[in-house]
Symmetry: C2
Subunit: 234 residues, 2 copies
DNA sequence: TTCGCGCCTTGACCGCGATCAAAAAGCCGG
DNA sequence: CCGGCTTTTTGATCGCGGTCAAGGCGCGAA
């Protein structure tokens, strides 16, 4: 119990992650099998093709999910934020590689032990199902973007999504909003199905139009949200 | 009970669909709320943006899931085969439109009633979770294809996937395999993020190379599977 | 400070796939 | 068998985004 207090009840994502399904008492079980783990930017937690071995909740930082072709082309197929779940219960091989985009902190569980907890807590399994539905919706939205949007639309839509995600859903706002991208230009390109040069040029175009500003390599300021939405095709 | 025998125990997808989680006896409950429904090619079961109202198992035929931009561009984000589940439990609005690609037969459930069945049958909820994971993997694979494959690779990979899906996983075979596509060229284009003309040209190229034959508008014969796999980039 | 190393930007050019246009092939009800 | 429709194929051209190649900028270490 004391342990649970220290490690779980105190957790930054206690109520947002799947664990929100559990009472403080029940957390003791999870706590016994969970292990905190840190990864540096660029380190990989799960490799596509290897057998599922761990599940985890992300506590801090951002990670990416990537799929790749035989000849080395890569596509980012999802981003993972704090309180999100990664990995899969039940045997099988991982379909995607999970890599840290920044230094990250994780709460990891051996797969089999995590399954046992799921077994005993139907409410947690339900939360996992609901999250998986949400992930599927997001993936399908991204398929629409990859297949049908122009480069300019992709970049504009991506900036809007990052602004809303990164800074907690401020209302369709007025005035400049500034935030930092957790991604390099190359990673933006990997998400959007473009090249690094095209991403850079589209950002340059938005900047030249006064729609955004680019303070430092990672910063973005949205100066005219309406224009950005128009560029995204809404 | 007699009803269940007639409608469920007898069902073409009895053991493959989610209902496989239920005993013959338990099927009675489902049977009471389920309703058979037919749709003609082109008719729509669920519209994106409307509230979830029905869930269903597909009994026969093929359906498509589509997402669209504000200005009318469309992308097929998934295909639905017999025994697959469509719709979502729990309130919310549908993210995709579900439309029949051929005449189809469905077993539909009012959403709330379906939730109640899920509630009582944890094993069924687990099957749904596992299917949703599979759908997510498939969506992510398609994201890789949309973002990183050339037109030729997309078409070749698509034909291989259809061959394996349509005719039950024959071993990486020898000799010609023939099957019918459940899709028009336009629908293939919507799946692959291409135009109708490009799809037609890529098929023409494969035909000219002797890799495939195109008997009739819908038929495809794979004459040289190894060459097709090479064209798909494996 | 200067060097070196990532990462980003910018420019020039090219090719793939979209677009526009028209002919050919199925398909169905007379 | 024909006429009218849809779907597919084929052709000609264009432009977006990829590719190749420099150059700039920021940052940490020597």
């Amino acid at each position: 119990m004391m342990n649970a207090m220290l490690v779980c009840a105190d957790c930054a994502v206690r109520d947002k992650a799947l664990c929100g399904a559990l009472s403080d008492g029940e957390l003791a079980a999870l706590n016994r099998i969970g292990r905190r783990r840190h990864l540096r930017r660029g380190e990989t937690l799960i490799w596509a093709g290897e057998d599922n071995a761990v599940c985890a909740n992300l506590l801090s930082g951002v990670m990416k999910l990537t799929a790749g072709t035989a000849d080395g082309r890569e596509q980012i197929v999802g981003l993972v934020y704090p309180a999100d779940f990664v990995g899969r219960p039940w045997p099988g091989e991982a379909g995607v590689t999970v890599t840290a985009l920044s230094d990250v902190e994780l709460c990891t569980f051996p797969r089999a032990a995590f399954e046992a907890v799921l077994e005993d807590h139907v409410r947690m399994e339900r939360l996992l199902l609901q999250r998986t539905f949400a992930a599927l919706d997001e993936a399908r939205n991204r398929m629409l973007a990859l297949g049908r949007l122009s480069a300019g639309e992709k970049v504009a839509a991506f900036l809007l999504a990052m602004a809303d995600r990164g800074s907690g859903c401020r209302a369709t706002g007025f005035g400049p909003v500034t935030f930092d991208l957790p991604l390099t230009r190359g990673e933006m390109a990997e998400i959007l199905g473009l090249t690094i040069e095209t991403v850079s040029r589209q950002l340059g175009r938005l900047k030249a139009a006064g729609t955004i500003a680019l303070p430092g390599a990672r910063g973005v300021t949205i100066r005219d949200r309406a224009a950005l939405e128009a560029a995204a095709g809404n």
